[in-house]
Every structure is written in structure tokens, then in C-alpha cells.
């Protein structure tokens, strides 16, 4: 597996690992203003393109995208860059991956920021699997939320529709989102108030002992990542990375 990774050229303290969501890519952290905000605070950052996205490899089998497999890719990314410990930020699917990475390797994650997720995935395993089966056979997939997400993602430049269907199926078919209360580190959760993907974020927060929740009034799943208040709060929460 080869991953394309964008990193800051300079910065102090622990680097910040930025994990993007479905149909996004590492450079979107720049388009949304996050890398600039981190740089202004003097922080170094690392933004991989997840498998199936950006310029990274795009396997076409759902198993390549199971949550534990992608989390392992993120751990190997830290190893390859010789980053023993980082601050971690994830949005949407990247938020789930960030929580799982923090759970699997709590000693390597100092502070965690997670946005745009609730307490369950937006697509069921059955719907995502049906989508993949149709797309892999070059048939039109059944209507529904899975097709909407996949169709949007597949229309972006450089997208591989089969890989993106496999990604949705692999993630959605992974074990349920669970056990996040075992991560002991400080955690900031954020989401727009008009983001249905983040339904249940209060319940998620209630399970995280050392956490706080920041709601962005009137913003939805796409816009919450772009509003300056979100990144400013996150950068403040992460601090200078020296402790």
C-alpha cells in the first residue's frame, strides 16, 4: 500500500496528524484553512490521503478499507515518518478513524479533536454492501444514502468509483463504533447543528470521560469544517504541543 502524504515544511512541538473524511483528501485541510491556522500557531502537521482517496493507492476490495486495516495504515504512516507521538484531528469518517487510532494506540496520541460524527455511521453495512456489489458489476446501485455519498465522491476529479464503493462497504461493514470511552486523553468534539451525520454526538461525548463538545450553530456537515470558529477552537484546544 502506498500513501501520498502532505506535510508542513516546518513547525514546532508535536506534529498534528490530520485525517480527512470520505471523498476528501489531505490537501482539503488546506482548502478549509486548517493547515494555515496550525501554521500560524507554530504547529507542524501531517495530512495523508487515505487509501482510495487523493493520490494514494485505490484498492478495489472492501476488506482493504475495514476500519482496523485503515487504522493500521495510519499507525504505519506515523512509524514511517518517525513520529512517536502526535496530536490527532479527524473529521467525519476521519473522525471515526481518529477515535479508533487513539483507542488502539493511546500512548501515541496526546490530544484528540473529532468533528462531524455521531454515535453511528451514516450508512448501514447492508446498504453499503449492496452498493458495492452493483458498482463492481457495473450496474446502477439502488437509491439511498449510500448511493448519494458514493455518487458525490465518484464525481470528483481523480476518483475511482469502484474503490470508493469498496471503501464505503469496508468501513460500514466493520465492527460497530464502540468502546471509545477507553481513550483517556483530552478530546474535543465538534459539529454543526444542522449536520445529520453528527446525530448522537451528545451521546458520544457522554461516553468520553475527558471531553468537551463544541456546536457550530447553523452549520452543516460540509460547512462546519470551513467556518473559522471550528479551527480556531481546535487550535486553541491543541495548544503549542509542548506538554
Amino acid at each position: 500500500m502506498e500513501l501520498n502524504v502532505t506535510t508542513s515544511a516546518r513547525g514546532d512541538g508535536l506534529p498534528v496528524l490530520l485525517v480527512h473524511g470520505y471523498s476528501s483528501a489531505g490537501p482539503d485541510w488546506k482548502l478549509t484553512g486548517w493547515t494555515q491556522a496550525l501554521e500560524r500557531a507554530g504547529r507542524a502537521w501531517v495530512a495523508p490521503d487515505l487509501p482510495g482517496h487523493g493520490r494514494s493507492d485505490m484498492p478495489r476490495e472492501p476488506d482493504a478499507y475495514r476500519v482496523d486495516a485503515v487504522v493500521e495504515s495510519l499507525r504505519l504512516t506515523l512509524d514511517a515518518l518517525e513520529l512517536e507521538r502526535v496530536d490527532l484531528v479527524g473529521y467525519s469518517l476521519g473522525g471515526e478513524l481518529a477515535l479508533e487510532l487513539a483507542l488502539a494506540h493511546p500512548e501515541r496520541i496526546r490530544r484528540l479533536v473529532v468533528g462531524g460524527i455521531g454515535n453511528k455511521r451514516p450508512v448501514t453495512a447492508e446498504d453499503a454492501s449492496a452498493l458495492y456489489e452493483h458498482v463492481a458489476r457495473r450496474e446502477s446501485p439502488p437509491p439511498g444514502r449510500a448511493r448519494e455519498l458514493w455518487s458525490y465522491a465518484s464525481g470528483l476529479p481523480g476518483a475511482d468509483p469502484v474503490a470508493l464503493a469498496a471503501c464505503l462497504a469496508g468501513i460500514s461493514g466493520s465492527r460497530p463504533m464502540d468502546g471509545f470511552e477507553r481513550f483517556p486523553g483530552p478530546t474535543l468534539l465538534f459539529a454543526g447543528t444542522d449536520d445529520p451525520v453528527a446525530d448522537g454526538i451528545e451521546a458520544l461525548q457522554a461516553r468520553l470521560a475527558n471531553s468537551e463538545l463544541f456546536r457550530l450553530e447553523g452549520f452543516d456537515h460540509m460547512t462546519a469544517l470551513r467556518v473559522p470558529a471550528a479551527r480556531e477552537r481546535a487550535v486553541e484546544f491543541l495548544g503549542d504541543g509542548s506538554t
Binding site: M1, L3, T7, A9, P48, L76, L156, R226
Partner: protein, 110 residues
Amino acid sequence: MSGVQYVFQLPDLGEGLLDAKVVEWRVAVGDEVERDGPLAEVETEKAAVELPSPVAGRVLELHAGPGETVEVGRPLVTFEVADQPGIVGAVPHEEPRERRVRLRLPDSEG
């Protein structure tokens, strides 16, 4: 101010995006800007982003009006920047702000 001209071209803003639309200029011709100071808000098909100035200098020309689309690599702003002693016609050396690396990850099964 004795200076040299520096033409700032629209940078590559991300995956496969070929152009961007100028939503709003944050500077006008004649303004002095600091390096990393806000230059313009531009919008791609994916997001709106604020472009910081790559140099400190005075704005000589804006190459697009609000609402106009600029292709990546085309001139966006011409600055007059301070001349460097002993160097004629050069522009200040810019350190890269970011790097791109390609990682080959070991097989997690092995």
C-alpha cells in the same frame, strides 16, 4: 522604494483543481502587504479559501476582478518588493511551506 517586480501566480490549491474564482480581494492596488497577510478569498469547486501573500511588498496590479476565474499558474497579483542588496532582478527566496511524500507502507500481515 526601489524594488523589483514579483508576479504571484495562482498556486495549486489541491487535488486536480485547475482554477479558482476570486470571491473578494482583501487588498487594492497601492496597498502595502505583509508576508502571509490576507490577499484574497478564492473559491474552488470544493471550498472557499483565503490566500495569504507570499511576499511583503506593494500591490502593483490585480490580474482578475471579483467573480473572475483564474487558472492555476496564471498571474494573480504583481507586487513591487524590496530590492535585495547585491542582487539585481531577483525575487526573495521562498522556503517551501509544505512537502509531499510518498510512503510505501509495509504489508500489515507480514
